[in-house]
Amino acid sequence: MKALRMLGRGVEQGAAWLLGLLWLLPLVFAVWTAFHSPAYMAHFSFTAPLTLENFKNAWQAAPFARYFLNTTLLVIGILIAQFTLCTLAAFAFARLPFVGSRLLFALVLIQLMVAPDILLLENYSAIKMLGLMDTLPGIALPYLASAFGIFLLRQTFLTIPKDLEEAARIEGCGPFGTLWRVYVPIARPIYVAYGLVSVSWHWNNFLWPLIITNSVETRPLTVGLAVFASSDQGIDWSVITAATLMTSAPLLIGFLLFQRQFVQSFVRAGIR
């Protein structure tokens, strides 16, 4: 019986590692390609010399510096706006008994099902009407009021004891003061979680920015990378792979450094 259990554990261990290696394989392959000269592409040898040439070429072949700037500005802008808008709405839904709040909340939740990406035709027309075509605010606007954020923060605010609010009120805080002094500080871990999810989501977003942008000045990294990879100028795969890793690098490095927090954050954002 004991031997059988040991065997079961051995099999599980083996399967877990096999799956892990299988899962890493494409990435390892990409890293190999990016750090070796094209001659060693798909030609594996331990003596192959490492090189940063591909990264250099990629960086020079397309305005990646600008793309990085665009994506960074976009992601930060979205994050600040989402925090502000969602905090206010979540607090109202959680703690202020206003007329129509239940119906309105139900309407908010619709966005969990129907993301702005699905409605790209109408949202395109809306952005065009607002004169925000090919601008960073144009990319950001449909995502600023996020149902996910409102829901997540509302659930968190609901768990905060009302006594704390009473105390704040006695101290002379209005609703805004209470929110800022009591609710926001307590919900900090949730803000970190939501922030990480939001940043990785918008760093990676592609289809909507593809439609809205058509210049180097506004294109985010994902669109820039796609444009770069599809330009038929006989660019080496090694260079494209280097560019690919480059665009993913900030999140990837962040994840490897703070993997526990990352995973924890996704869990926190997920179970509510």
């Binding site: 892990g20 494409p26 990409a30 709405a89 035709l121 149902a147 592609f206 792979t241 997920g270």
Partner: protein, 291 residues
Amino acid sequence: MNTLRLSLYGWLMVLPAATLLALFTHIPVVESFVHSFMSTDKPKRPSRFVGLDNYDSLVADPIFWKALTNNLIYALGSVPLSIAIAMMMALFVNDKLAGRSFLRVAYFTPTILPMIAVANIWIFFFTPDYGLLEQILKPLGLGGNNFLGSNNTALLAVTIVAIWKESGFFMIFYLAALQQISPDLKEAAAIEGAGRFTFFRRVTFPLLMPTTLFVMVNALINAFRVVDHIFVMTGGGPNNATSVLLFRIYEVGFKYFDFGLASAMTVVLLCVLGLVALGQFFALDRRVHYQ
């Protein structure tokens, strides 16, 4: 503070978010329906009511049916498999195996990569002649494939990429659920002499059901929403073999500028998502949501 003032504060705080939501979610949903009954706005012929014309063209369009079928295959292929793999990953990481932090990183990493980057990596994986897959298959005498260029394998290839990208994300939800299962249950089962597999089948799996439902709904939504890799890997080809609804909407709307037809397709997509929502609310146990 009196009720009226609280109400006023409530409205003021909700207003900015509500306005933006209405502008970019609710109004567009309604407008998609309206525009699906209108002809496409052209310089010489402004948009007008055309009844079911767009839907007639849609039904007559073989590429629409192809995209719809592809999308269903894509969903049916990726959803159950990524759920099963996600559950397996979570069980592996949760059982204190050697190297579990390495395993967690390995499983989760695809989640934080942009889909566009993932697509680039996998294109190379699937490339004819010198791609990694070919390198493995050639010595076995199974070479000479063009996975992304063939009608038979292209959809499978993009489905595999979706599974690779999403399983690690869904693992997280299972991991969270597993950590909430009381260790007492395991002890009790051990006293009863239940084996590991029995324990999984009779205890863990049923307890994970709410999570499975939640993950399934999300995976289904993603199967209709996440199409980025198709742009890069196949561009919907060969011969529309990998065209799915949202991709086709993009094509018809922004390449052929037929907004009427694209709106009708958006309505179909909205109905599909509506069905998913209905399924979530009625067909399955209502208690299980959001714990």
